[in-house]
Amino acid sequence: MNKTIESLWASKRLLLAMPIALLALTGTASAQCVNCTNEDPKKILLDLIDQIDSAYLTQSPQNLMMMEDNPAYFVVDDGKALFEQKRGPNNVSLEKCDFGKGPGVLDGAYAEMPRYFEDTGRVMDLESRLVHCMKTLQGFPSDDPALKARADIRALMAYVGARSNGYEWQPSMDHPLEKAMRDAGEVMFYRRSSVLDFSCNTCHSETGKQIRASVLPNMNVPKEWTKAVSWPALRVGKSSNVRSPYQRLRGCYWQMRKGQINRRSDAAIAMFSFWKDAARGEPAILPDLKR
């Protein structure tokens, strides 16, 4: 803790940093993420803040203060209930869904995704795998409203995500297809196009840079990037609800003026493969709380 306080003094963000220092010293005594694995998401973030000087990780003392009361925890609880509920024409729950570590194994499963699945012959992300299970286990047909109930699917994702909280990102990279998708995602990360000539790299290649008032995470700094890719998360602000990894990706392509990337497409999954690989070895913060 001392190192953190010293560095915060040095950076002259004293007034803003005081709440962080106080919080770190007092520890957390209020709400808790009941369905999160490992330590509370806030503790994971504080540990990262302790390890590196990062304007990105420390940019919002207010959000740090709110983390232990993250409304996303309620969404995680809702997601658990939905996950265990018997639904669909087959009247079964999702408890036998295989997220890559075997049917019904949730702990740490999301942290190893996207990954190749033998039964579909594809690399799949969380959202596409969840929809796959809803169709094959629960029997929902492709045009069923349940598959378009975005808030429900986000709640399910928040729950599965919370069961990887604190696990190191270790996306599976043994299968040639996993590597191919990850490498294509890397090309896409650097691919400049459209009227503003942007690529992801334009904003995410340097430490401590701001777009307007927001400090950007550097993809080349895993201890920053792990927070950047920790979705589902609650975004404070006008929508103030839990957002999925796809929504973050879509938002970036929107701001880059490129065009809409499609949900559950291989293009999106390739991006997620690269994202997660760049955060490899660092702990996931799930659910997170963000600007």
Binding site: E118, T120, G121, R122, P176, L177, A180, M181, D183, A184, G185, E186, V187, M188, Y190, R191, R192, S193, S194, V195, L196, D197, F198, S199, N201, T202, C203, S205, E206, G208, K209, Q210, I211, R212, A213, L216, N220, R250, Y253, W254, Q255, R257, K258, G259, Q260, I261, N262, S265, D266, A267, A268, A270
Partner: protein, 232 residues
């Protein structure tokens, strides 16, 4: 334009897929469209995912009259700079890109003039325009902006909420004056910054037709007019 998958490869993939299906094994290098992803280079696969595998809503119309496909199709400068993959630029690329940029320069009829700095300030702080997809920027409802403040600090009292991806421009005109040379240089940086900073992060506001000549003139005033807040 995107690269076609070599015909031989496509045929081989199809044969292999059929063999595997008949043989009972998993589909070869399975993808949503049966193309063999593992037989492609990373660059080929990226193009394939973007243009061929329904990765993007490529038919969507854009405000400038084309489609998303046009926006995602790279020109020579974008392709060249993308190949750096965030690494250091080499002297060959410096030459190629600066020459491309210099060739692209066009200038306003009647010469480079300063417009109204108040309008320039509004343009600098305005990030509206050109977004498509789940929320489309309607250009008939609002003026489009230059996004300058997204990346640059321009006024001291707004510094905390101004971006730092680009260098600070606080006091830009105060330091440089308003000579013809300064106006020309500043104009060219806005029009196509690659002429001076090859593979810069900054958009080609003129060459890509993001800003009109009129808006550039107002921004020039915002930067160079001694009365502008930038120079106080």
């Amino acid at each position: 334009m995107y690269r076609e998958i070599p015909h031989k490869l496509g045929r081989a993939a199809l044969v292999l897929t059929l063999l595997c299906v008949v043989g009972g094994g998993p589909a070869v290098a399975g993808s949503s469209d049966n193309a063999d992803y593992t037989a492609m280079s990373a660059e080929e696969l990226a193009e394939h995912l973007i243009f061929k595998a329904r990765g993007f809503n490529t038919d969507e119309a854009t405000q400038e009259g084309g489609t998303v496909r046009d926006r995602l199709t790279q020109d020579q400068l974008q392709k060249t700079c993308s190949e750096l993959k965030g690494g250091q630029i080499d002297s060959a690329t410096v030459q190629t890109v600066t020459q491309l940029a210099q060739k692209s320069m066009t200038y306003p009829d009647g010469g480079i003039e300063l417009g109204d700095w108040k309008k320039g300030q509004a343009i600098a702080e305005n990030a509206f325009g050109f977004r498509v997809g789940h929320k489309v920027d309607d250009h008939s409802s609002r003026e489009t902006g230059g996004l300058c403040m997204n990346c640059h600090r321009l006024e001291e009292k707004k510094a905390i909420r101004s971006g730092t991806l680009g260098p600070s421009l606080i006091g830009y005109g105060k330091e440089r004056g308003t000579s013809e040379q300064t106006k020309k240089y500043t104009y060219e940086v806005i029009y196509n910054p690659h002429a001076f900073f090859p593979c810069t992060k900054m958009p080609r506001f003129g060459a890509n037709e993001v800003l009109t000549q009129e808006k550039i003139a107002h921004i020039l005033a915002y930067l160079l007019d001694p009365a502008s807040p930038v120079n106080q």
